[in-house]
Symmetry: D2
Subunit: 342 residues, 4 copies
């Protein structure tokens, strides 16, 4: 089987690889169709590690995938050969304490695609537990199927935020995660979603999707949010930039009793003004990936409330995977998501 | 000042009336423009009472109103003469325990328009506390302004339901309240809203507004909800019919861990199968009017997420108010909301 | 192995029985020490059925048990031979949707001791999944170990009630479940717990445990709760009687915005005044058994915040099990819990 | 009227002062009996300012007070002359948006005793809105009455933490606020409360009150919390030290899905490891004073669940007020709360 293998930092090979995979009774085998390139894939490609996770052996990249079912275990009832599907990339221990409490994303033993030493999904086929494989609705294509993974992050963030109908949300950062979070917030009950970044091309895309865009390189964020909310502040703020500036300034445009969701992951500790959070009694949710979010993400796409198509800005064939990564490491400003088609 | 006065059960007069109203520093005077007729108005008209509230003296009807500001108290900063506005019809005691806790709708001393002995708003002008008067956004007309009142009920119900993004909702009953609740649920984060009733004309309207309609006179509600949710059940059920059948059967189409919101008000105790609620661990919210919902309702209309225009099915001039009530007491099946224009 | 077998309604035998039980790697084998008799055991004994659950074949009774570990599967790390333990009686499917969401008590496929056709624990030994076996703290005896099961119901009810510190709770009914709920409410943050019943002997016990007792046969419940709360009403009401009167009257002594937890299971639908719930915007939680409550119950006993010893009012030896059931079917008024020691 | 006046930083005078106070219909006049010295009082005494709040004119200190009602406005129904009472020190605008939403502590226009330019309560009498004056239960003395103010902070923190019965709490810091928070957590549903500090005398007091004490100067906090929770971590952590170390390390001993409450107010921004919060999906509540907490605090004292007497370690007469402040600025290690009796 052919796969895109990260041999070591900076060195990608598209080559044959043997991965032993047994199809158990609760598993399905999937022919991979489309894989999105995530920032973490690019980070492993460039640096060979993310924090404590170090690539010590050749590892297949990719964790955002859609495909077609080619074989079904006997115990799997909700899928059949030929179904177009997307897959959750993390396999938790069903008996861990966190999993049993419903928070399987916090299980320390979760095995997650393309997090060393676990192989990712940029390969021709893979075997996966049926429970983590979701049939795509008819109106959801392979592109959006692959992007269900980042959308699940946005849906999880919005769920944690406990949106009340008519809330005004502010999303800081317009990377893929910022974009899907803004979309999930709009679909999830907000009346208005304000998006802040310094890349005008991305802000233009956000505007075309119905968001209110603020270029914080030229405009005063706090003043504009205040104006947009009669001086009250945003009800919910999603920090999706992971930047020190984004995190440190997050309480300023917030309303009294507002909520902040930390999605972006700063690479080091960031100075936080605790008193600024206290005088507004901010409730802060720190989130990590998602749990029980895929079926919700798919329902929102099926009903037309979220449409991920505009986020796919760049496309490569499997044989050009290495070029795709070279591009994704240094993309055009207007680029949101690069996908690879197998 | 001319007003539509309920002299006693069954007897309406459009006549001059004197209501002493002093414009305090925190008040505004409003020229009334549009008033919606609510089921409670019709009930007072027909029966002269609702439960313990008995019309003992002539009373002006109406509590769903929009209008134009004609005079502003010195302490009111957010409004000026000429502003198009809508008004919350209930004035709570700001110092009651319920009000201070944020639940002013539960203040037993609230003075609510057209709830005896308080006069309603079907009159040329009225004075109201500025705090309960809301400026209409540019894209919101007087019709929708008047209908902000029922929409606030829907918004409050959805807020209490604590929608998670992608939830599937079922709304039982397609009267005005059922319709606005369905709209608020769709705008408030649900992926799909299923609406159930026996009046096909109303269901057709709901379908045209994007809802999934079920005619429970001909179709099996539980089966259809089960099919629409892969056998899991609806995440949230809004009981907006107030009928015994609606209330008694409400736990059947519910998912495990689902939520039920009782909006409709049955006229007498209804048999409830507590065990049916227990085996699903239903969380049930009983709601009463709304609190802090007007600004949210207006934001949802301003952003285009809720459009109440299709709900205004019948219109009368002020001089034909009595005809309007005669009609509203016995409307066409397709009628949702009758409004009176002053 | 000897066991107390319900042959059919009304006919108990203490006899040898063969139950095939294989000790898997994640299981432990337990020598049963103490078993509490629950109302449901007595109901099966008298009627041979509870609702849809019918005893069609001889079935061992009992589901409230403590014992000693005598054999440990290879995968079980938290237990060793000789440990004194208590056991959750319901074994859910770890992969059901409800279980994965953290609500394993709502899994329709749960296998629960002494719910036909599953054998209960009134037998010499049993094999159980290690995950559902909990080590008893040093200060917790076998009696309290067996009663961890009903306490878990109370802990679950209190958790669902979302107690705020200083809440005043009312518990309706002083059977075992009412008593443990009152104890859990007191330990769980309430300032005062009021207990209502008509059996003075039980109310005397509640008083001796620090509760405020009201004999509703002679005293006016609503008036007394009103007096005890400056006219505001109880913050939380736990309905633990399962009686029609308890359920129907539950909203009267409630405060605005209060919570009601339905624990008791009425045998048929009960008339409920929905409007009475609405004018107070009651939040109602219907609960079923418990999930993730055992470790909490044990921590509360270990720390001395809950002491179940006073609830064990009657004790029988295993050889007198049939007498124990005859007694439990018709106990003294002061009887709370009858236990059988093996 | 005599009062303890802060003339400027470092200069206190006990002298006559005239404060114009009119007794309105909803007010009561109180003869002050006992006043606790708070860290903020000492801070104003030493530095003349806290952040943006600068003492520009002579100001009476003190905001933790109990006393006796000596005059009652006509509209006040719940109090009479001679009642022993305690008082909330902050008077919010009843019509502010925050107040109406139930969060009056976040009203930016709140007038709070001994926050410039508002005079505090270290004076012979004062007039206060009846709504903010609470009758002391019989078993609550003037000392505990004065300390209701800090206890309200602890009760508010515990309420925000949404304790589940049996939670294990960790409180960082054993100043007055740490101590009352630990007490409120124990009364509010926690099975065990662990208290961490470096002052052994305070830890000894905490131990004598039933807490588990950890001296972080000599012991490893994370290891000990891990041991006490079978490796899971604390369910709730209250940061009451306001120190950079306390804030920065707060996610380490936390369990997955745990909650952190920031009560202590660091004097400057503190480096926070956002990723450490994310991998546990911490929910963080930043709190500011309290709202609707006094009546809860008094109920917990009335029922005997919280006893503040052991916290009063030092006592001065009014004529020795200046000595009291000199002491409080440099107290014995075992000192928790210094009170002044008028």
């Amino acid at each position: 089987m052919k796969a895109l293998v990260l041999e070591k930092a900076g060195q990608l090979t598209l080559r044959d690889i043997y991965i032993e995979e047994h199809l158990g009774p609760d598993d399905v085998r999937i022919k991979v169709h489309t894989v999105g390139i995530c920032g973490s894939d690019v980070h492993y490609y460039r640096h060979g590690a993310i924090g404590p996770f170090v690539v010590k052996h050749p590892m297949v990249l990719g964790h955002e995938a859609s495909g077609t079912v080619v074989e079904v275990g006997k115990g799997v009832k909700h899928l059949k050969v030929g179904d177009r599907v997307c897959m959750e990339p993390g396999i938790p221990d069903p008996n861990s304490r966190a999993t049993r409490l419903g928070m399987y994303n916090l299980d320390p033993d979760v095995r997650f695609w393309a997090t060393p030493p676990v192989h990712g999904c940029l390969r021709e086929t893979l075997v996966h537990p049926g429970m983590l494989v979701f049939k795509l609705p008819e109106n959801v294509g392979f592109d959006e199927g692959a992007l269900t993974e980042p959308l699940a992050v946005g849906v999880h963030a919005v769920r944690k935020a406990q949106i009340k109908p008519g809330d005004v949300a502010l999303v800081i950062g317009t990377g893929t995660i910022g974009m899907v979070t803004a979309m999930a917030a709009a679909a999830g009950g907000c009346s208005n979603v304000i998006v802040a970044d310094i890349v005008q091309e991305k802000l233009d895309l956000a505007s075309s999707l119905g968001m209110i865009s603020i270029n914080v390189g030229r405009e005063d964020l706090n003043e504009m949010v205040s104006d947009a909310t009669d001086g009250w502040g945003a009800d919910v703020i999603f920090e999706a930039s992971g930047s020190a500036a984004g995190v440190s300034g997050v309480f300023e445009p917030l309303c009294p009793g507002g909520r902040v969701v930390f999605i972006g992951m700063p690479t080091r500790p960031v100075p936080v003004d605790i008193v600024a959070a206290q005088v507004k009694e901010a409730r802060i949710e720190a989130i990590f990936r998602y749990a029980h979010a895929y079926s919700r993400a798919l329902l929102l796409m099926e009903s037309g409330k979220v449409n991920l198509k505009p986020l796919v800005t760049d496309r490569y064939r499997f044989e050009d995977s290495i070029k795709a990564f070279q591009y994704a490491a240094n993309p055009r400003p207007s680029s949101v998501k690069t996908v690879i088609e197998l």
